[in-house]
């Protein structure tokens, strides 16, 4: 299926030749088309970094905010207008480092959004420092003796928080990546897709070849509703499983829990203040 609806035409893209981001952009556009989402009804919220530039490279509504802060506005946009499809998309440094606290609490709130993380295990735009997901021992211009921290495990953290949808994909496997993004987009509730992505310029360890050798797909028999088993698979280290680890689809979403939508589905901008009620509220202060 063509992605003309989202194509920008001939634009200058700031990514390095061979960057994993190109594959993610292509898969995302196809997934959107195949999920029948229209540019006018979609908002992509991003932070800062090379991954966070992605909304500028496809036609849609964009909220390109601050480093690490994509999830709070994404949560609020969906809450203010539940008719919009909302994607929060950024890199590993943005979502897991600067925005780590928001990542944890967004999962707890369970907004009906898709959270896509380009995880290349390195800081690209700032030229090659360790990221929260860099492997221990990863040598960089700052971590000259190798990163001494253990890598952040977003999959395990998300499952520990009982996230509603937890998946990992690989930017080098176009078909599977697209299928996983489609499932995330169709999921009701917070859906996280951590995408392993080579950085051809600054990460000489976790290359396309390295990812091919160190990943495998969860078997068809894997039960994504079994949280303990999902967690067990999430902490595997030698070879990283790909696919949908865990789902808790019947959790109430953030906007479903909001009293404003109990009787009326209209987005906030279509509502009017009940002035009589306001006068009543003030009058109640006359006889307190």
């Amino acid at each position: 299926m063509g992605t003309e609806l989202f194509d920008m035409g001939d634009i200058d893209i700031a990514w390095c030749p061979g960057c994993g981001n190109f594959g993610i952009l292509k898969a995302l556009k196809e997934a959107l088309v195949e999920t029948d989402i229209h540019p006018e009804q979609l908002v992509i919220v991003s932070g800062i970094g090379q991954a966070a530039k992605i909304p500028h490279y496809l036609k849609t509504n964009v909220f390109n905010g601050l480093h690490g802060r994509a999830l709070p506005p994404a949560t609020a946009i969906k809450a203010a207008n539940p008719f919009l499809t909302v994607i929060a998309e950024s890199g590993d440094g943005d979502m897991y480092g600067e925005g780590g606290n928001h990542f944890i609490h967004a999962i707890r709130r369970n907004p009906d959004i898709t959270n896509i993380i380009h995880n290349n295990m390195v800081y690209g735009l700032t030229k090659g420092q360790a990221s929260p997901t860099s492997q221990a021992g990863f040598v960089t211009p700052v971590q000259v003796d190798g990163s001494h921290s253990d890598p952040f495990n977003p999959i395990a953290v998300a499952i520990a928080l009982d996230a509603s949808f937890v998946a990992r994909a690989f930017a080098g496997d176009h078909e599977q990546l697209k299928e996983i993004i489609k499932k995330a987009l169709s999921h009701r509730g917070y859906a996280m897709v951590d995408i392993l992505q080579p950085c051809v310029t600054f990460n000489k360890v976790n290359t396309y070849k390295w990812f091919q050798d160190h990943t495998y797909y969860l078997e068809d028999s894997h039960d994504p509703f079994d949280r303990v088993e999902a967690f067990r698979r999430a902490i595997e280290k030698d070879r990283l499983p790909l696919g949908i680890f865990y789902m808790h689809p019947d959790k109430p979403t953030f906007d479903e829990t909001l009293p404003v939508y109990r009787r009326d589905a209209a987005p906030l901008f279509r509502r009017e203040l009940d002035k009589e009620k306001l006068i009543g509220l003030v009058d109640a202060k006359r006889f307190r």
Binding site: P39, E40, Q41, V43, V45, I48, K53, P55, H56, K59, T60, N61, V62, F63, N64, G65, L66, R69, L71, P72, P73, A74, T75, A76, I77, K78, A79, A80, N81, F83, L84, N101, H102, I104, H105, L258, P259, V260, D264, P267, L268, F269, R271, L273, D274, K275, K277, L278, I279, L281, V282, D283, K285, R286, F287, R288
Partner: protein, 574 residues
């Protein structure tokens, strides 16, 4: 016999957890309902139990709305209470105290002490927690409130609690009331204040409620915040009213999330605000810059408290004007409002939403602990003057979020309303909203953003002038000090002294220079140590203001101390 007339200042002092605030709530409501003008404010420690907290309640035959140093009736409910307020005790202060509670030493040093068996009476009812209801009954009795009115109010206030609690509190109030009747009948104390029947139906609110009501009137339908004294009461107020007024009220994981959520909400068509105090606002600063860059509307309420860092969490100060004025890196316009009256807080918060939406800039409302926690009765609130002005426009296919216009304001579209796409970007961007490094476009965008300041200044809310037009001395104030300064200037008794009070502190109204230049002498009064507003006035008008009265102890100015400070300055070179 002690006789008190006209305007009486009652102070209750006790430990946190003694229920002094409950007394304040009941007494203010009950006495207003009985036809007295009321003002109440409190100062308290940052703790849940113990320490010394106090509440001042002014009961008067005329409107009252400011803090006094004077205490006419003091009710100390703990052993440390007298020590806590001793500087304010005079020969005229009547102290209603239990000698078994206050220290023997203290009781010898005060002239008008009337022994009240708070402790024994409370024990008979069920414990020391009933001392607050005894105090309530005592005050009600001294002001000759009807016994039935008191009982009905107590029942209403404590319901729906379990019947034992309700009954014990009613009983305690009755006991206090009986004590008061004995004092009155035996001639020990006589209070005589004219009642005003019109007061009974007046509105009684505090600063936090005023900001909350103003927000609802301005169409606020989204608040995300992180609890922080003394700003939390606004979040609480809007949360409590969320169902009735279609408001999404969310407690964020931190202030950074709170304001970024609010920005997302505005982007999607909501009218959002955050409420915080200085330390929490410091965390929001990054997103103030984002507000400036993406040209989003935003309403930020800062209830100031003394800093830096944690400072004095439950005290008051006007120390964060500069923080608000210079918050966020880079250059972009903003509006800063600072209510002095409760009515102003309603009106300005209401207008803040319209202004934010009109100019697509951050609009600040600066209050402080004193303002948040002060109550008085007002005859009416103007809720319909401006209405809700919504500037959202339906987009067409060619929509550009940052279209360059002559006044710098681009039509604001939102996603999902129209055929266009809405792009906002924290990077410098082109008219469409896409990231750009075209440096000519950069200059055009900076100019566009800053050009809005022209209309914002021309349409600034003018300062409020109180006094004769042929004044020689001009007193300058802003924000929460309005009533204290107004009353103090009135008490000076000089017709050549006038007050100019600013409720919009940035950008200031163009007439400001005219007012300043006309004065032979100008005195700035501010609740901070560095004269932040005075210096801002100097910066914007070029007029040098030499005389300043500054206070930064964490307590609001009192009327008496302002009168003294002004006299000292005026006598110096008079």
């Amino acid at each position: 016999m002690v006789k008190k007339t006209g305007d009486i200042s009652i102070v209750l002092c006790g430990e946190a957890g003694h229920g002094i605030q409950t007394v304040e709530q009941i007494i203010t409501g009950l006495l207003k309902r009985s036809g007295f003008h009321i003002f109440a404010t409190k100062e308290y420690m940052s703790r849940v139990r113990g320490g010394s907290n106090s509440t001042q309640i002014r009961v008067s035959s005329v409107r009252v709305s400011s803090l006094l140093n004077r205490i006419d009736i003091l009710i100390p409910l703990s052993s440390t209470a007298l020590e806590h307020v001793k500087k304010r005790i005079s020969k005229e202060t009547v102290i209603l105290a239990d000698k078994t509670i206050i220290s023997v030493q203290d009781s010898k040093n005060v002239p008008n002490l009337i022994d009240i068996p708070f402790s024994d009476t409370a024990s008979e009812i069920g414990g020391s927690i009933y001392m607050n209801s005894i105090s309530t009954g005592l005050i009600a009795g001294l002001f000759k409130v009807g016994a039935d009115d008191l009982d009905r109010y107590m029942e209403q206030f404590f319901s729906p609690g379990d019947t034992t609690t309700v009954d014990k509190n009613r009983n305690a109030a009755q006991k206090g009331y009986d004590i008061a009747q004995n004092l009155v009948h035996s001639g020990k104390i006589n209070i005589d204040i004219q009642r005003d029947a019109d007061v009974r139906g007046e509105i009684m609110i505090n600063g936090a409620e005023a900001v909350g009501i103003g927000a609802i009137a301005g169409g606020c339908n989204f608040i995300s915040s992180y609890p922080m004294s003394p700003s939390t009461a606004v979040l609480t107020f809007l949360s409590r009213n969320a169902r009735d007024f279609n408001i999404i009220a969310e407690q964020a994981e931190d202030e950074i999330s709170a304001i970024n959520m609010a920005l997302g909400a505005w982007y999607a068509g909501a009218r959002a605000m955050v409420t915080t105090s200085g330390g929490g606002f410091a965390l929001m600063e990054e997103a103030v810059g984002l507000t400036g860059m993406i040209e989003s509307p935003m309403v930020i309420h800062i209830a100031q408290r003394p800093g830096p860092a944690t400072g004095l969490p439950t005290r008051t100060e006007q120390g964060d004007l500069q923080l608000a004025l210079y918050s966020g890196h880079g250059e972009f316009p903003r509006i800063i409002l600072a209510p002095g009256k409760l009515e102003d807080a309603v009106d300005l918060t209401h207008q803040a939403f319209n202004l934010a939406d009109r100019y697509q800039v951050p609009v600040f409302i600066l209050t402080d602990q004193y303002f948040m926690d002060s109550y008085y009765n007002v005859p009416t609130l103007n809720l319909s003057k401006t209405g809700i002005i919504n500037y959202i426009e339906k987009t067409d296919r060619d929509y550009k979020r940052y279209r360059l216009t002559s006044n710098g304001i681009s039509p604001r579209g939102i996603p999902g309303y129209g055929e266009g796409l809405v792009l906002v970007d924290s990077d410098e961007h082109d008219e469409e909203g896409h990231i750009t490094e075209d440096l000519d476009m950069r200059v055009a965008m900076v100019d566009k953003r800053l050009s809005k300041l022209k209309e914002m200044t021309a349409k600034a809310i003018p300062p409020e002038f109180v006094g004769n037009n042929d004044y020689k001395v001009l007193i300058i104030g802003w924000g929460s000090t309005f009533h204290v300064i107004r009353e103090a200037v009135g008490n000076l008794g000089r017709d050549d002294v006038a007050l100019l009070h600013f409720k919009q502190v940035y950008p200031v109204h163009p007439d400001t220079v005219k007012y300043l230049k006309k004065a032979e002498r100008t005195i700035v009064i501010e609740g901070n140590a560095t004269c932040q507003f005075g210096r801002l006035l100097n910066l914007t008008t070029g007029v040098d203001i030499r005389d300043r009265i500054l206070k930064y102890s964490g307590i609001q100015f009192t009327v008496e101390e302002l009168v003294n400070s002004m006299k000292t300055i005026l006598d110096r070179e008079g």
